[in-house]
């Protein structure tokens, strides 16, 4: 007998060997979840090794999804349901799941050899390690093999159907319709009939197994509330995909080609792969010989009138630094996408960290300011990319877009944007009305508001000129070593970036009132966890608000005033306090900090605890209400 689960939302984790098809199972489950009208957020967790030995703990691949009524903004702290395909998957994931969670266990590899490979001395099913959990033991491999026996597959091919069998069962548990997955299988395996039919049979068999077992109540039902989405057309999207689409959309809005120049690096490469398939959207992709060549080629493309984009992660961005200064000096547009990871040096390539805010804002020789924006969620990557390119073209400057590996791989439902809602991206025209001496050209006739110059490119007759990295005369653009001119140019570069603030929206409060005891400030991919934590505490009466900042340099003009309306300010970020430094530096705000650099995203519970601490300070003797240790997000 098992207990059904009814909840506003449920966190499910599929885990198995790299070869078990867990990622595929996860993404297909997401598609069905979306059709069932649930909100969701996902987090794929790949092994660091490319090909780890089968059955070992380093080879465990997992896919976590949090589904149910919205708003769901994170993949959840602790899974309520774990589907484990082998002992190693159980061993790796048991510590992170909720006490009392439902565990669906594929038993076929719980042999002495399988247990030894996972590092178990004794069978956890017998050692008491699973006491207190709801365990459903099934020989999924055998059940799947029986279901596909008639298709004449090899033993190994038949074994590969077990993810579809398990998916069929889980879909039954959630009451999901399997037709969307069936349709996907038909298309995906169209060229191989026997594999196609075997997968369909395994899916159906898993689903039927749930139905048959219903009589004995051996398999529980899992029920979540439906999400209340605004009406519209939806799709699922990963961060890397939304970012690629956003870059392509920016090109379309500007009526320019995009030339994307990059060098492979973890975790930035998914963007390179996505854009490499967007040629029909006017996106050209150049894989350069190194990071420096990548940024230089992007600058060359911008010089030629295309939208030059380069992308990397921390160490690669460091290599691009000198060239970014060139783009600042030459006043050329450039988008620099930084998929942050743990550092310094090579650091933790596959782990997430908000490592590069300092590098983006301060990381160049001399006074070399540039605008910096950060995306907060997978779908927000689309908006942020368009915004970044808009700033780059309006102000004729390189712009940093900060994202990270977590956002790149995480997925969520997305109301498909209507491109008609976006204003075209304008560039500055040469100003014919400016008084000009004979022989002088309008190359540096800057727009008085944005201080952006016209984008004059080779091929335009009569406007031949020379630009470069040397200091130039503020008016003519000719090389100038004049003392006063350098002062004026340095001021101009600062003013230009400051001018961005005139064009960006005011900082909004993302959750809660525009005044209160505590403002939680965050940026980038922590949005989901911060949102749930602030929501949980405010539901219990805490006077706390969330302010999540997209525009990190310059800040929105109202940010200082907004923060002054709160008793305390808590900056939560996955580094040692980079935004906190920036707030002190630029706004004179004195925040307290919540910092985490473990390579793992924030748990909602951690943020809740920090908020409680801060509220205690504000409320003095008044005792805060107790808060549960773990939050699954939305529950």
């Amino acid at each position: 007998m098992t207990d059904d689960i009814d909840s506003e939302s449920i966190v499910v984790r599929f885990a198995g060997d790299s070869g078990d098809g867990v990622q595929l199972m996860g993404t297909q489950f997401v598609a069905a979840t979306a059709l069932a009208g649930s909100d969701f957020a996902t987090f794929p967790d790949y092994p660091a090794e490319i090909r780890a030995p089968a059955g070992t703990t380093f080879g465990v691949s997992a896919y976590q999804i949090n589904l149910g009524a919205g708003p769901i903004t994170t993949a959840g702290d602790a899974p309520r349901v774990l589907v484990a395909f082998n002992p190693a998957a159980l061993k790796v994931n048991l510590p992170s799941i909720e006490r009392g969670a439902l565990i669906v266990l594929n038993t076929d590899s719980f042999t002495s050899r399988g247990l030894a490979k996972a590092g178990y001395d004794q069978d956890p099913r017998k050692s008491g390690a699973l006491d207190g959990y709801q365990v459903v033991e099934l020989d999924i491999a055998k059940l799947a093999a029986e279901a596909v026996a008639s298709f004449g597959l090899s033993k190994s091919d038949a074994g590969r159907c077990k993810n579809f069998w398990a998916l069929g069962l889980v879909q039954w548990m959630f009451g999901h319709d399997t037709s969307a997955v069936e349709e996907w299988v038909r298309v995906k395996f169209a060229s191989n009939e026997s594999i196609r039919d075997a997968n369909l049979a395994a899916l159906a068999a898993g689903h039927a197994y749930g139905e048959t077992a219903e009589l004995t109540a051996a398999i529980p039902h899992l029920r979540t509330a439906r999400a209340k989405f605004p009406p519209g057309e939806y799709r699922g999207v990963r961060g890397s995909e939304a970012l690629a689409l956003g870059i392509a959309a920016a090109g379309e809005l500007a009526g320019r080609s995009v030339v994307f120049c990059s060098y492979p690096i973890t975790p930035a490469s998914p963007l390179l792969h996505r854009l490499a398939r967007m040629g029909d959207l006017g996106v050209g992709v150049f894989q350069a010989e190194d990071e420096i060549a990548a940024v230089c080629a992007a600058i060359g493309a911008s010089y030629g009138g295309a939208i030059g984009v380069t992308s990397s992660s921390g160490p690669g961005i460091a290599l691009k630094t000198e060239a970014i200064g060139l783009a600042i000096n030459a006043e050329l547009p450039l988008l620099v996408v930084d998929s942050q990871r743990g550092g310094p040096s090579t650091g933790l390539p596959t782990k997430t960290e908000q490592s590069d805010l300092y590098q983006a804002v301060y990381g160049r020789n001399a006074d070399a300011p540039l605008p910096v924006v950060a995306a907060r969620s997978p779908s927000d990557c689309f908006e942020t990319a368009i915004e970044a390119v808009r700033i780059a073209l309006r102000h004729m400057t390189p712009v940093f877009l900060l994202t990270d590996g977590y956002l790149a791989n995480a997925a969520e439902p997305w109301r498909i944007p209507d491109m008609a809602d976006y204003a075209p991206i304008e560039t500055n025209a040469a100003r014919a009305d400016q008084p000009r001496a004979a022989g002088e050209l309008p190359i540096f006739d800057r727009d008085p508001e944005s201080l952006g110059r016209p984008w004059i490119t080779p091929g335009m007759p009569g406007l031949m000129h020379r630009i470069g990295g040397l200091e130039k005369d503020i008016r003519t653009g000719h090389i100038s070593y004049d003392a006063d001119n350098h002062q004026a140019m340095t001021q101009l570069r600062a003013d230009k970036v400051a001018a961005v603030a005139k064009f960006i929206p005011e900082q909004q409060v993302d959750l809660g009132a525009d005044h209160g005891d505590l403002a939680v400030i965050g940026w980038g991919s922590t949005f989901g966890a911060l949102y749930q934590a602030v929501r949980a505490v405010s539901r219990q009466g805490g006077r706390v608000s969330l302010i999540h900042v997209r525009y990190l340099n310059p800040f929105p003009p109202n940010l200082a005033e907004l923060l002054s309306r709160f008793e305390r300010v808590l900056v939560a970020e996955m580094n040692m306090g980079q935004l906190a430094t920036l707030l002190r530096d630029k706004l004179g705000v004195q925040p307290t900090q919540l910092n985490k650099v473990t390579g793992q995203p924030f748990l909602i519970s951690e943020v809740v605890a920090a908020i409680q601490r801060e509220l205690q300070h504000v409320q003095g003797a008044q005792k805060p209400s107790a808060v549960n240790a773990t939050y699954g997000g939305g529950r």
Binding site: A180, E233, A248, D280, A293, G304, A330, T457
Partner: protein, 334 residues
């Protein structure tokens, strides 16, 4: 400017900028030949771009009335590659030096050449760092005394032509700064080449490395110490063309023979033969003459042509973002 090109002269390619190389620098001669060649080949100023890195040679773009981009140290080939991707129809010249192109920027030069990007790359080789006041460079000969090598340098130099050949360059030519005719024809040939055209120019640095090439560039020695190669013609040099180059099959090396007595043994230049190019580029005085002119030319489709061929309509959009957003399973919420 009218669509029908009016004939331009060398003067039309001169900028009002005051040229700031040292008096007597070989760069002046190169600049003069370059502007003359631009006029002769009918280059359009607005369709021509000079991209440079850092160093004395890299000031070149300021003095040519075309578009110009003075970038950062060593990176001109990378910037120029991006420019060619954005605008494949431009004439893009890269001006670099031995330090800029072969030391800090060696990697980019290697890749621009092996990709066959349609760039005309002029490497001004003076075997010294001029702008930073005279340190030895990657092409300096062992024993070069300089501020950074007071006891003489000891590391082996890189041979630019052989480097280019090894990198997979399909056009390798050489000229001497003051040789208007020879350098002029090389620059014109580079202009006409579709892919990456690599030109090594022996350039005299009058301040820090004066006469470093005089063993083959001085008037007295030029005839015996230079061989101007021309495709299909005998490889002869010296007064009246009395000396010739032959291939010694026993040593697998070139040998100098009497061109009259052993006319049958004198090789004809074949600019498409990479093995011959390797032998010619390796020749050095005093034993051998220095090969000048187009040593190797073996055309192949340029990088940018292949790049554009991979897109449905160049980089013109053939789909809208609104459509592509829906190229996945979608659902409606009412």
């Amino acid at each position: 400017m009218s669509a029908t090109a009016t004939a331009l002269t060398a003067k039309d390619f001169a900028t009002p900028q005051e040229v700031r190389w040292c008096p007597g620098c070989g760069d002046y001669a190169i600049l003069k030949t370059m502007t003359r060649v631009l006029a002769e080949v009918g280059a359009r100023p607005e369709k021509t771009v000079f991209v440079s890195g850092i160093g004395c040679s890299s000031r070149f773009p300021y003095y040519v009335e075309t578009y110009g981009f003075h970038t950062i140290h060593g990176r001109a080939p990378a910037v120029a590659t991006g420019l060619k991707l954005a605008q494949p129809d431009l004439d893009v010249w890269v001006v670099t030096g031995d330090g800029d192109g072969l030391s800090i920027g060696g990697n980019h030069l290697l890749h621009a050449l092996r990709r066959n990007v349609g760039l005309k790359i002029l490497l001004f080789n003076n075997e010294v760092y001029g702008l930073t006041k005279g340190q030895y460079s990657p092409t300096s000969r062992p024993g070069t005394r300089s501020p950074s090598t007071p006891g003489g340098s000891f590391d082996a130099p890189v041979a630019p032509g052989l480097f280019a050949l090894g990198a997979g360059a399909r056009f390798i030519a050489r000229g001497v700064d003051v040789d208007k005719t020879g350098l002029g024809s090389v620059l014109a040939a580079a202009h006409a080449f579709e892919g990456a055209a690599f030109v090594e120019i022996f350039q005299n640095c009058i301040v820090y490395n004066d006469d470093v090439f005089s063993a083959f560039t001085s008037k007295e020695r030029a005839a015996d110490a230079q061989i101007h190669v021309r495709h299909g013609e005998p490889l002869v040099f010296g007064e009246g063309g009395r000396k010739g180059l032959a291939f010694d099959v026993k040593t697998m090396r070139l040998a100098i023979v009497d061109a009259e007595q052993r006319r049958g043994d004198v090789l004809n230049h074949d600019e498409t033969n990479a093995t011959l190019a390797q032998l010619l580029l390796a020749m050095a005085p005093p034993e051998f003459p220095v090969a000048l002119g187009v040593v190797y030319r073996n055309p192949a489709e340029s990088f940018e042509k292949q790049f554009y061929a991979r897109y449905p309509n160049g980089l013109e959009r053939t789909a809208s973002v609104a459509d592509v957003l829906r190229r996945t399973s979608t659902w409606r919420v009412k």
